[in-house]
């Protein structure tokens, strides 16, 4: 088996981008779970992290902005033997594709959603997204963002996802372990990867959070607690 998973293409991310660590974590999780690249499908959104389609050797499918989840649902329904992962940023999963997130979570579709949250539309040069923290100044919120951020995990909490986790990309080991567990999970799993942008959301680069020792028994317990890291729910 190809345990390298690399392609002829080198990543095009900015120096210091969390994407490098994310790419390594995904590769390690796939190897850890002993999955063959031919049996793993990742459907990608459009955005910085989604450029990973060119950097990892498995069945990668660059879809459209906001649509990685429904494509993944179709793949998994058609061939349940495949391991199916949908990737997207906060723009793709929470803004453009929020409807798909809520419904895949409601149906508990057997896919893993990996959300690279950099709190901003980065590849389009730094506009506020629905996940941008309140008060943050961006190129489209010059006086500070007036809205409370929408969280992918909160949306999944109220709609029914059965595995929910949050991890900072800077912690490669934890991120690898959580992604590996999310992939193994039967049912809808979602991992929010805290990955502030080195260009557009520099002020968020040192995220602070509190690791939970074990998952909560009730989803409502961590609703709105965006400072909690680890596997928050696993049923």
């Amino acid at each position: 088996m190809n345990t390298d998973l690399s392609t002829p293409n080198l990543p095009t991310w900015c120096p210091g981008c969390g994407g490098y660590s994310f790419l390594t974590a995904v590769k390690k999780a796939i190897i850890k779970n002993n999955l063959a690249p031919k049996d793993v499908v990742i459907t990608y959104d459009i955005g910085c992290s989604a450029n990973m389609v060119n950097f990892i050797n498995l069945c990668g499918f660059a879809t459209l902005h906001g649509r990685s989840i429904p494509v993944a649902v179709g793949v998994k329904t058609a061939n349940p033997k495949l391991t199916v992962i949908a990737q997207g940023g906060d723009g793709g999963i929470v803004s453009e594709g929020g409807n798909h997130l809520v419904h895949a979570s409601q149906r508990n579709d057997d896919i893993t959603v990996l959300v690279n949250n950099n709190y901003v539309f980065a590849l389009t040069t730094g506009q506020a997204s629905s996940a941008t923290p309140k008060g943050l100044k961006t190129r489209t919120t010059l006086q500070g963002n007036p809205f409370e951020p929408l969280s992918a995990i909160d949306l999944a909490v109220v709609s029914g996802g059965s595995f929910l986790a949050r991890t900072p990309v800077s912690d490669l080991n934890k991120t690898t372990e959580i992604i590996a567990k999310a992939i193994e999970h039967k049912g809808f799993s979602l991992v929010e990867i805290i990955q502030p942008c080195v260009i557009w959301t520099k002020e968020l680069l040192k995220p602070s959070g509190q690791w939970v020792k074990e998952p909560f028994t009730k989803r409502e317990s961590f609703l709105g607690r965006h400072d909690l890291w680890g596997i928050l729910y696993n049923k």
Binding site: K38, G60, R67, P70, G74, A78, L82
Partner: protein
Amino acid sequence: MERYALKISGPAGAGVMQAGETLSKALNRLGFFTLVYPEYPSRIRGGDNHIQIIFSQKPFLTPREKIDILLAFGKKNFEEHKGELKENGLGFESSEIGLEKIAEEIGNPLVINTAGLGFLWSVLGFKREILEEQVNKDFEDKPKVLDLNLKAVFQGFGLNQKESFKIETPKTKKEIENYSGNEILTKAILNADCRFASIYPMTPINSILTLLSDREIKLFRPEDEIAGIMAAIGASYAGKRSMVATSGGGFSLMVEGLGLAGMAEIPLVLVLGQRTGPSTGMATFSSQADLNFAINAGHGEFPRIVLTPGDAEELYRLGLEAFNLAERYQVPVILMTDKYLAENRLSILKDVLGKIKVKIDRGKLAEGKELDGYKRYEFSLDGISKRAFPGQTAFITNSYEHNEYGFSDDDSQNRQKMMEKRAKKLESLKGGFEIFGKKGAKTFLVGWGSTKEILLDLIDDFPQLGYLHFWRPWPFPKEVKTILKEAEKVIVIEGNFSGQLASLLEKETELKTEKILKDDGRPLFYHEIRERLRKAER
């Protein structure tokens, strides 16, 4: 050949649609061909649902403006339609003839429609037993209400004492089947071995969704049409024949997915059941105004196939072939119907559909050694690359412009070659139309899609006319020019406001056309089209 037109009208919920099915099937038992044209507002109870049943010993029938017999459930419905009766036509209102009373006596208000059928059957002068056979068949799964309905037929039949048509019944016994357009298309979908369908409800394709619901197919009920087309693309990519079905509004949402299927070269069948637009339009009425949209939808340029079947047989054949075309050329295939074709009940000789065999062709597939160093978008003479599926090998599929391996690629030369590769895929397609009527006719009628039966009915009475029907207007078959340029007059007949096929035809062939257009939600009625044709021919 004589054609008869009946109309049954009643509030939604009165069983008018079911009555149409039962009556037309009973007429088929006598050897008549039938066409059932339903018209109804967008509501579940009340209002005015009505159906027109046209029957004759000849196939290919057209709705009529003037009717021979009207049966209305309720005074309001009677008033609404009595003006449509021919001079010697017969109109009946349910309470006047005592249908409500029969239902009351039987103790179930729902049997009023069957009592009405019994009455109509007697007015038509046919043997009661034939209708009873059909009622037996329709209620074979519901033994509890079968007896009540048979009683209703008997009593309704007995109400009629005097008026009776003398209609000659067919001498030779023909076995005739009777399906809605959506039923025929659903048969094709299943027989084409389609394994995945995602459908968000929308008139006029709703019954495809309900008919597929208890069948051996993975049915995805998406949150919206965008998710619908994306999931179908995912399923097709994963190796299963896949489809979506929608109407214009849903198709508007699906357009980004259409482009994805074009760029990533994912086979996909998209059933587009047209209804009156723009926007919500007249939700339960028919239209042929989405031809331009189907041909041009999406940003950028990518190949696609547009199929426009016009009758039961063609709907079934193209329903089967759509999946082959999608997989052979790795393109989206848009199969267009409309409310008229989808929800009408059509009659055909038994076994016609059964005799149509289309062998399943999944196109070029990579196998064995070809999977080593596999290139998803490998250049080839015909532009078509071999497909592989996840589970066979690792490979990249891409909505970005890509190189042969599928990796994103902005290189100028690669871009040019990839555009040429995709465009080349459909170059070998030939045909897409059929000629009827007189060879070398001075006047040629041209149509597409659901006007086919109407125009075949018409040229039956006007044998001096030629008629060209497009069943695949895109890619446009330019060879029609050699046929049409011989005619003195080309009259394009279509159900839209601006003449979309006419414009396409003029652009592609540089021929001049005359137009007969109609976009009021209703079909082209028989006498209307005759009259307009007479004017256009002048």
